[in-house]
């Protein structure tokens, strides 16, 4: 059940309505049942997988807690590693099994030692990377003593499977979400301000997904799937629009999740904060998929030594984190390279820091003015878009082919002769996309300059303005949103991760 489906249109109001009226004691069970129903709507069988992961991490948490209380730290560590091993094993098997086998197969064939024809036939369980990481984060937190192990299995199961953020994040921290669930009976449900705020976030999320992301996807798919047919103008436009698409696609999911949870009285962590206004790649990663970036920071980068063990080790740690992050995103070498590029950006950026500062001093560049920040944001955006090509291309070969054609087939005149309207989006559709992207920029600008999310900003405005914006967005979703007959539903991109 996708957020932008008819099923969800009925599912969510029913879940919320009953959640508001049932006895407080039943809230947890009700949300857990709803979450499992939500997850099982994709493939009922995989509910067993999430249930197994839940049970395993729950028991591990309890045992680790007991061991630590009993002074048996070694045993606690063994349990932690066993838990990590089994959970990551499931993840590796279901998500990366075929990737590793086919990579091995290719390697063996290159060396003329034969090959492996067998492949696993199971489908990738939706959102497995998200809930696995969330559950593992909890286990590590218990081991570190940052939280106490949750004894209530129903509550813990709800923490792992809470439907708004189950399949595509944000990857919640136990310290944040689990503690809210412990106080579920105290949540005051009828809070008009909170509900309005959640609804605005959901509306804005649907706008980003249905009006922008799925519209941009039409052009992006046309060009990326047939890049051999196009020149630089089309390829650059498609790459830039993919940057918009993936931001709106993934950002929208997080917003809908945060909004839905907010309506039910839960505050999920922010996942995106105007990433394309970032002034450096490091800044970009502090604004993009924040829940994953901080997860890797807390549970991988810092345990590896972070920046505490010298510059070389820091560079190695950064590369490990970003290559892992690339692999987390998908079982394909192009994702690994995408992660590697971002890692390399940061390592090179660190190496050039002194040289860069020297140049700035010598050239007497004013770094406090708008033009400098604009230049930084523009360069960062170009670097990010370049890396997105690897993310979107079907394979490494396609990614290199795509970049090669940008160089060897310059077609700048196509920006002006109307040919760009033949890429799946005719002039009216392109106009709608441009207007929608302008609205997106405006909202992000408010977030960037005034440090306010759209809901918070609207809540400070007069009623007529708040309603005008909200109703205008709803109308735009209803009229210009991509859904219904003749529309090939675009799954949220991050579902596959």
């Amino acid at each position: 059940m996708e957020f932008n489906s008819i099923d969800f249109m009925f599912f969510f109001p029913i879940v919320v309505a009953l959640y508001f009226v049932i006895p407080k004691a039943a809230r947890q069970v009700w949300l857990l049942a709803a979450s499992y129903y939500f997850y099982m709507s994709w493939n009922a069988k995989y509910a067993a997988l999430i249930a197994a992961s839940t049970l395993l991490t729950y028991l591990s948490g309890v045992i680790i807690d007991r061991c630590k209380n009993g002074g048996r730290k070694g045993r606690a560590l063994t349990v932690l590693f066993s838990c990590l091993g089994v959970n990551l094993g499931i993840l590796l098997l279901f998500k990366y099994g075929n990737f590793f086998i086919s990579s091995l197969d290719k390697g063996l064939r290159l060396l003329h030692i034969g090959g492996i024809d067998q492949r696993f036939s199971f489908l990738l369980p939706v959102g497995i990377s998200f809930y696995t990481f969330q559950a593992l984060g909890y286990t590590i937190d218990v081991y570190r003593g940052e939280i106490k192990a949750e004894r209530n299995l129903i509550r813990y199961a709800l923490f792992v499977s809470f439907f708004p953020q189950l399949v595509a994040g944000p990857i919640e921290r136990s310290k944040n979400l689990l503690s809210q669930m412990q106080n579920i009976r105290q949540i005051k449900l009828w809070n008009a301000r909170r509900i309005s705020s959640g609804a605005i976030l959901m509306i804005w999320g649907f706008f980003m997904k249905m009006v922008i992301a799925d519209r941009a996807a039409i052009l992006v798919n046309t060009v990326f799937d047939n890049y051999h047919m196009y020149g630089s103008a089309e390829l650059i436009l498609a790459a830039v629009l993919f940057a918009v698409q993936i931001y709106c696609d993934f950002g929208s999911y997080s917003l809908i999740a945060i909004g839905a949870a907010k309506i039910m009285g839960f505050a999920l962590m922010e996942n995106f904060n105007t990433p394309y206004f970032a002034c450096s790649i490091r800044d970009f990663w502090s604004r993009w998929h924040i829940s994953l970036s901080t997860w890797f920071r807390d549970y991988l980068y810092i345990p590896l030594g972070g920046n505490r063990k010298g510059r070389v080790r820091k560079a190695v740690n950064i590369m490990i984190v970003f290559l892992t992050s690339g692999l987390w995103h998908g079982a394909n070498w192009s994702y690994v390279v995408w992660g590697g590029i971002h890692g390399a950006y940061q390592v090179i950026g660190d190496l050039l820091t002194l040289y860069r500062e020297k140049c700035i001093r010598r050239l007497r560049v004013d770094t406090e003015c708008f033009s400098w920040k604009f230049l930084q944001a523009a360069v960062t955006f170009i670097l990010v878009v370049f890396a997105w090509i690897f993310f979107r291309a079907s394979s490494l070969r396609d990614a290199f082919g795509y970049i090669r054609r940008i160089w060897i087939r310059p077609t700048p005149w196509k920006f002006f002769n109307g040919d760009l309207y033949t890429l799946g989006l005719e002039r009216p559709e392109m106009n709608i996309l441009v207007v929608a992207i302008c609205i997106l920029c405006l909202v992000d600008l408010i977030r960037y300059r005034r440090k306010m999310t759209l809901d918070a900003f609207l809540m400070t405005q007069n009623l007529w303005f708040r309603w005008g914006v909200s109703f205008g967005l709803v109308l735009m979703i209803f009229v210009f949103g991509k859904y219904g007959a003749g529309y090939d539903p675009q799954q949220f991109i991050y579902f596959q991760f």
């Binding site: 008009a192 559709e429 309603w467 109703f471 709803v474 109308l475 209803f478 009229v479 007959a485 003749g486």
Partner: protein, 475 residues
């Protein structure tokens, strides 16, 4: 709390109104299946004596104007393009809520249906015209696979992306064009596809109808009989009947006989209706206006003799049928004018009461030439020195550019006309005849004539007498 609740309700109401308006504007309004049903709902209860069901074969064959003018029968075509029998069944159920016809006619071309589900466009045409009711829900459920029910029931999801094709009709409560004023669902084929007389051959044996088709075919016959309303099945003439089709029709005929329902396949009834496939076909599958007149004339005579159907001519309550007939007969005249290839016959048409004639003499033109003389003389134009523009209504001169005004604009409730005489830098003149923002100009040298029909609201014809082409009539 109270204040919040009031705000919440007010906001929800405003949002509902906005979405309802958006839905109203974007909703599909196709003539063939949606607007024809909307117009049906507007009829007085029990005013339709002959209710005709079926697909495009029905709405292009049964000429409601001819049926009215010749027999005084009030008929209505409750049809939709490619409508399968399961949708015809629900149309009939819906119709019988307000009408008790003296005769129900099922045009049976779709008895040949082989697909259990149709494409989205046809499903929409056959279901979205129905008002929200059990019949609409059942019609949708019968039309699409179970997993698509919700999408179609919501409706809006099927047509919300029409925003690039919106027109005036989408922003008015009803369609304003002249054809809709008394419209009874008939669609006239305005052009002719020449075909040879088909030889359907003869064959024996029969093929079973598709199970779903047969189920609803029987349901239609049973529903009519349950309501004690006579029903007949008619296969209107069409050009491409195969032997397989004949075998299926034979099965359908046998089923009709089971219920003692008359079944007429007019493709094998040349003695009753002689269709000339060289002049009477719109395309392989459908009759044109002329063909529909021939067919309906004979069939109307038959039903008038066989069934007790009252003649309503002269009854003011049935004025809309007269309006419909007036429109359709005028349209036939428009077709005749368009098909006139002989310039000498043109003057016969230009004086008709309902015609607004706009004429310009352009470039060089020999006035003594016989055709020119005949056309201009017929309209009473004797001085065309230097060319000019003229406007005649019902044969009477209304305005000409020689009176002193170089340009003149006219308007009716729906149409705008502009006659402009614009001087070129070389001293000559360009004449422009503009109707509803479209410029009509056929020949550079000679006479340009545009005929606008006040009854049908369309440009009946636009042609020229071409001085560069031996004063031939050209379009």
């Amino acid at each position: 709390m109270k204040k919040t609740a009031v705000k919440f309700i007010a906001g929800a109401l405003i949002l509902c109104v906005l979405l309802w308006q958006a839905n109203r504007v974007l909703a599909v309004k196709y003539d063939d299946g949606i607007y024809s049903v909307a117009k049906f709902y507007e009829l007085e209860d029990n005013s339709v004596d002959v209710l005709i069901l079926g697909s495009s074969h029905a709405y292009m064959s049964f000429n409601t104007g001819v049926l009215w003018r010749e027999q005084g029968i009030s008929s209505y075509l409750l049809t939709a393009s490619a409508q399968p029998l399961w949708n015809s069944y629900y149309y009939l159920k819906e119709a019988l809520k307000t009408q008790t016809p003296k005769l129900i006619v099922l045009e049976g071309y779709r008895l040949l249906e082989e697909e259990e589900y149709q494409s989205a466009g046809f499903v929409i045409k056959s279901t979205y015209g129905l008002k929200w009711s059990r019949n609409r829900i059942d019609a949708i459920k019968a039309s699409v696979p179970r997993e698509q029910w919700m999408g179609y029931l919501l409706g809006y999801t099927q047509y919300h992306d029409r925003y690039t094709e919106l027109s005036e009709e989408d922003f008015t409560s009803e369609k304003k064009a002249e054809r809709y004023r008394g419209w009874k669902g008939f669609e006239m084929g305005m052009t002719t596809q020449q075909m040879g007389q088909p030889d359907f051959g003869t064959c024996t044996g029969s093929i079973a109808l598709m199970e779903k088709t047969e189920k609803y075919y029987r349901a239609i016959l049973e529903l009519a009989q349950e309501k004690n309303i006579p029903i007949m099945v008619v296969i209107a003439p069409f050009g491409g009947m195969t032997q397989e089709d004949q075998k299926r029709f034979r099965t359908a005929q046998a089923i009709a006989q089971e219920y003692e329902v008359p079944f007429f396949n007019y493709n094998f009834m040349e003695d009753e209706v002689y269709i000339d496939y060289g002049t009477d076909m719109y395309n392989t599958s459908h009759l044109n206006g002329r063909g529909s007149c021939k067919f309906t004339s004979q069939w109307g005579e038959y039903i008038a003799g066989q069934y007790k159907i009252p003649d309503h001519r002269g009854d003011p309550a049935y004025d809309s049928w007269e309006q419909d007939a007036a429109y359709l007969y005028a349209l036939l005249e428009d077709v005749e004018l368009r098909e006139t290839a002989d310039a000498d016959k043109v003057p016969e048409y230009l004086g008709k009461d309902n015609y607004h004639v706009f004429l310009s003499v352009d470039g060089y033109c020999q006035l003594e030439e016989e055709t020119v003389n005949s056309v201009l003389g017929g309209l009473g134009i004797d001085d065309v020195q230097g060319g000019g523009l003229w406007y005649f209504a019902g044969g009477d001169a209304v305005w000409n550019s020689g009176d002193g005004e170089a340009s003149r604009y006219f308007e009716t409730d729906r149409h705008d006309f502009g006659l402009r005489r614009v001087q070129r830098p070389d001293g000559g003149y360009d004449n422009e005849i503009v109707i509803d923002n479209q410029n009509y100009h056929t020949v550079e040298n000679g006479i340009n004539i545009v005929v606008f029909d006040g009854v049908t609201g369309i440009v009946a014809d636009s042609f020229g007498i071409d001085a560069d082409n031996d004063y031939q009539l050209c379009r």
